[in-house]
């Protein structure tokens, strides 16, 4: 077999990583290379260095260490039964690529995942070695995200957290049944156990009160996970219920929803159709409402039909249109919780409303200045000079507030 060039390997192993949605490089500790002979910094908020034509930010060098894999997960391009071309980086090659790209300011750091070769421990060890080499040998201070192989040993997870900014363990699919069907070698309980271990380590690393000794650093940007949407039959209710359980159980920073994308040489178990991008978008919106707006899953799902979110309008508006008896809300009197439930009012707008109304009674024009979308807000609020009257009960309200379909892109 002819040896692959580094460039060819890069093409194969970046292509293999393109289905993973997560690419954030924010939320870590602040550090830089000043006073070291090394390079790299993280300043809290991440930087997107480029954007691919799929609109996704390129912040990290996202690679697989190898796309050889002993597992046969139907949704994965790298499953053992796939005919995709295979390649494998050495630890030093990944280290070199990361440094070369970082020095040219192409990236914020590295996001390394891998197919499973030999054993989970062997694979995890190689990934840890990449991170360790970057940190110890090259004094690299940039961002590192490592994918966790679920049943790798706790010692390896502990070391991974020492070098990485973020660790993630993919839950893969919204239900255990789907995972067992599509990924026969993966054990849902093992995935959750790995997350539980990370949580334990993250809790230990959090200084409480006056710590006697500085706790050992562990993945300062926390842990995240990814779920594939649309490969199985689970509805949005099942997806969001799973996510809520994960957030509450394992203190995840993020759950990434990745609309299932068709893969070449796909298993016959899978749907052959373009990814449901709008569904993915609605799930992110719903996820946001659950984490920051005080909604719970059953409420959000109420806005749609049969456990699925409404695709035509955003989930908060969908909920409000089915909860018309709770509206209109008086912006001069309502509590913060209720204001957060008004369609079109975000956290910033609500905070501004609460600050301003201490000084004077707000008018509709005042509210309009505080939000970008007063048209959406108007039917749901009462102000000093405005009442929606019967508008809230208008049968055509939904239609009026539904964005008109746009001409499709020519591309």
């Amino acid at each position: 077999m002819v040896a692959l060039t580094l460039t060819r390997k890069l093409a194969i192993l970046a292509d293999a990583a393109k289905y993973d949605a997560s690419c954030a490089s924010s939320g870590s500790e602040k550090r830089n290379s000043a006073g070291t002979k090394g390079i790299g910094s993280t300043e809290g908020s991440g930087i997107c260095h480029s954007y691919a034509p799929d609109g996704r930010c390129i912040s990290l060098l996202k690679l697989l260490l190898t796309n050889f894999c002993i597992y046969d997960c139907a949704y994965c391009i790298n499953r053992s039964s796939s005919n995709v071309q295979r390649a494998r980086f050495s630890v030093d090659e990944v280290v070199q690529l990361t440094l070369d790209f970082y020095r040219r300011n192409y990236i914020e750091g590295l996001f390394l995942s891998s197919g499973i070769i030999k054993s989970p421990d062997h694979t995890m060890e190689e990934m840890v070695r990449v991170a360790r080499t970057l940190r110890e040998v090259h004094l690299f201070q940039g961002y590192i995200h490592l994918k966790v192989i679920p049943n790798a040993s706790p010692e390896l997870l502990a070391e991974a957290g020492r070098w990485a900014d973020r660790l993630s363990t993919n839950i893969e699919l919204p239900t255990d049944t789907a995972l067992e069907h599509f990924a026969p070698e993966k054990r849902p309980a093992e995935i959750r156990t790995a997350m539980a271990r990370l949580r334990g380590k993250l809790d230990e690393a959090k200084p409480e009160g006056k710590p006697k000794a500085k706790p050992q650093k562990f993945a300062p940007a926390g842990q995240s996970t990814q779920m594939i949407i649309g490969a199985d039959a689970a509805n949005d209710s099942a997806i969001l219920t799973r996510a809520a359980g994960l957030y509450s159980g394992y203190n995840l920073k993020r759950v990434y929803y990745s609309a299932f994308s068709p893969i070449p040489d796909a298993s016959s178990k899978l749907p052959l159709r373009p990814p449901p991008l709008m569904r993915e978008h609605r799930l992110y919106q719903a996820d946001w409402l659950i984490r920051f707006y005080g909604f719970d899953v059953p409420e959000i799902v109420q806005g749609g039909e049969n456990g699925d979110l409404d695709l035509a309008i955003d989930p908060k508006l969908a909920w409000a249109l089915k909860q018309r008896q709770s509206f209109p809300v008086d912006v001069n009197r309502a509590d913060r919780e209720m204001l957060l439930r008004v369609p079109g009012l975000g956290i910033n707008a609500v905070d501004r409303i609460i600050r301003s109304r201490r000084h004077h009674r707000l008018t509709l024009a005042d509210v309009a200045r505080m939000t970008a979308s007063i048209d959406k807000v108007r039917p749901f609020i009462v102000t000093g000079d405005w009442s929606p009257g019967g508008a809230i009960d208008d049968q055509r309200l939904r239609q009026k507030l539904t964005p008109q379909p746009k001409q499709l892109s020519l591309f």
Partner: protein, 483 residues
């Protein structure tokens, strides 16, 4: 008309020094024009020599103004100095000016500062260094065209990030240089001053093309985050048009390329795989412990982390049965390690039961909870769940063969007695003889003791709990006498 000349395009201190003197002399904004670089003075304008001296006392400005000015001074609008001076002037009379959201000077400054922030951010993102060897030394040089004069203020970011690297950034109006120790600035330059290529650039373009998923094409999103004006200095940008052009075809190809015959290595691996194990009969406690992890007897397994089986010596004399694992038990996979477990331990030790002779477990092996934000709120398992899990509790009783069983709380008692409801108050305080000869005691779950708010009630219930455990200790002691 007074023409004030500034040496630098974006030096807040320089502008501030001159503005203070103008202010001290009472010069109105309309009497001043600000000039930089090669701007020529008008025919009837006086120059800096007319700047009033010396400094007189001037009023104060809010700190917020100085922060705003530090950004605005970097803006490329030639009116920036005059605008700042006008606001400075107005601030002397109206100290609250900056909090007036409707004032147009005010909103202009805010808009300019925000444009500068964005430009600086894009500079951090879109500078592309090219490597250049000068003898043994590798230097990294970049050409960047900011919209505003952001180089000086942003250069420190690059110094912090690329501390161990020799680098320079050249822009049309100035350049910044870092030699691994010092940051210095020089004159501006041209694109041709920077190396035209870089050895790694092709790999970068390969990466850029490969990480793009054609099934998710979103061109407008890309353009809003990476405006086209930056593309000419981004090496990867030459890929954008062909990638977009071919996306539909690539996506179609992905969809149409159905599964082919799996490769040989896969078939060999499949052939080596052992037959899926038949569910075998469980013949020991260890086997039960392993098997419970794949229990699907009720839906609770799906959201719990893992099944939490009992712990303790295989032939313990006494078995404590709780309700279900809690949050901590679920994460760790061990029973009674949370707050309730600590209460139980405390009392076991207090009454003098030997911890080494105790097996602890739960009636239900999976944690049942309701997610609420970052917490999981305990939910009581229902009859069906208790019934489903009885299978495992029975196995534990069968293999451990305890002589005394203590049901902690109603759920445990229901499970052990096979009843739909049990009232603790009525059934505690006396041993219950079971069919198989074991002795059952019923008492509260220790978590109940944690929930009593008043001190008096708490003391009373703790005493009752202790009394129940004393009975358990007596029962164990009695067993020793009658082998």
């Amino acid at each position: 008309m007074l023409a004030i000349r500034l040496e630098k395009l974006n030096d807040l201190d320089e502008w501030r020094g001159k503005a203070r003197r103008l202010l001290a002399a009472g010069m109105e904004p309309s009497q001043i024009v600000w000039r930089t670089g090669s701007d020529e003075n008008g025919l009837f304008e006086g120059g800096d020599e007319m700047l009033p001296t010396p400094d007189g006392p001037v009023g104060t400005v809010p700190r917020q103004f100085m922060e705003l000015a530090a950004g605005v001074i970097q803006h490329s609008d030639p009116e920036r100095f005059a605008r700042l001076y006008r606001v400075l002037w107005r601030l002397q009379k109206d100290h609250q000016l900056l909090s007036n959201a409707g004032d147009s000077d005010n909103t202009d400054l805010a808009r300019m500062a925000s444009a500068v922030r964005r430009d600086a951010h894009k500079m951090k993102a879109f500078v592309r260094f090219r490597s250049l060897f000068e003898g043994e030394t590798e230097r990294f040089i970049a050409w960047f065209e900011p919209d505003h004069y952001v180089l000086e203020a942003t250069a420190s970011f690059f110094a912090r990030r690329f501390a161990g690297m020799n680098w320079g950034i050249v822009t049309p109006y100035a350049s910044a240089w870092w030699d691994t120790e010092n940051l210095s600035f020089g004159p501006g330059g041209r694109k041709s001053d920077v190396p035209a290529e870089d050895a790694v650039e092709d790999d970068w373009k390969t990466y850029y093309a490969s990480i793009f998923n054609p099934a998710r094409l979103k061109v407008s999103m890309m353009k809003s985050e990476m405006p086209v004006k930056y593309w000419r200095n981004l090496p990867e940008a030459e890929n954008i048009a062909p990638l977009i052009r071919n996306a539909k075809a690539m996506e179609q190809d992905m969809i149409e390329r159905a599964a082919t015959q799996p490769p040989a290595h896969h078939m060999r691996r499949e052939a080596r795989k052992p037959e899926p194990q038949q569910i075998q009969e469980i013949t020991s406690l260890a086997e039960a412990r392993e098997a419970v992890q794949s229990c699907h007897r009720c839906p609770l397994y799906e959201h719990a982390t893992q099944a939490v089986f009992g712990e303790g010596p295989e032939h313990a004399e006494v078995m404590f049965v709780g309700e279900q694992p809690g949050d901590q038990e679920d994460l760790a996979g061990k029973p009674f390690i949370g707050p309730a477990g600590q209460v139980l331990d405390e009392f076991i030790e207090k009454v003098g039961i030997d911890r080494k002779r105790v097996y602890v477990t739960n009636a239900v092996k999976h944690f049942k909870f309701e997610p609420r934000g970052k917490r999981r709120i305990h939910q009581r398992p229902d009859g069906g769940e208790v019934q489903a899990c009885k299978f495992w509790l029975n196995l534990e009783v069968e293999y451990v063969k305890p002589k005394v069983i203590v049901a902690l709380g109603a759920t445990a008692a229901q499970s052990l007695l096979g009843k739909a409801s049990v009232t603790i108050g009525k059934m505690r305080g006396a041993p219950i003889k079971m069919e198989d000869g074991t002795v059952l005691f019923i008492t509260n779950h220790p978590s109940y003791l944690l929930r009593i708010p008043d001190a008096e009630g708490k003391a009373r219930e703790r005493a009752k709990f202790e009394a129940d455990l004393v009975m358990v200790r007596e029962a164990i002691a009695a067993l020793e006498k009658t082998p």
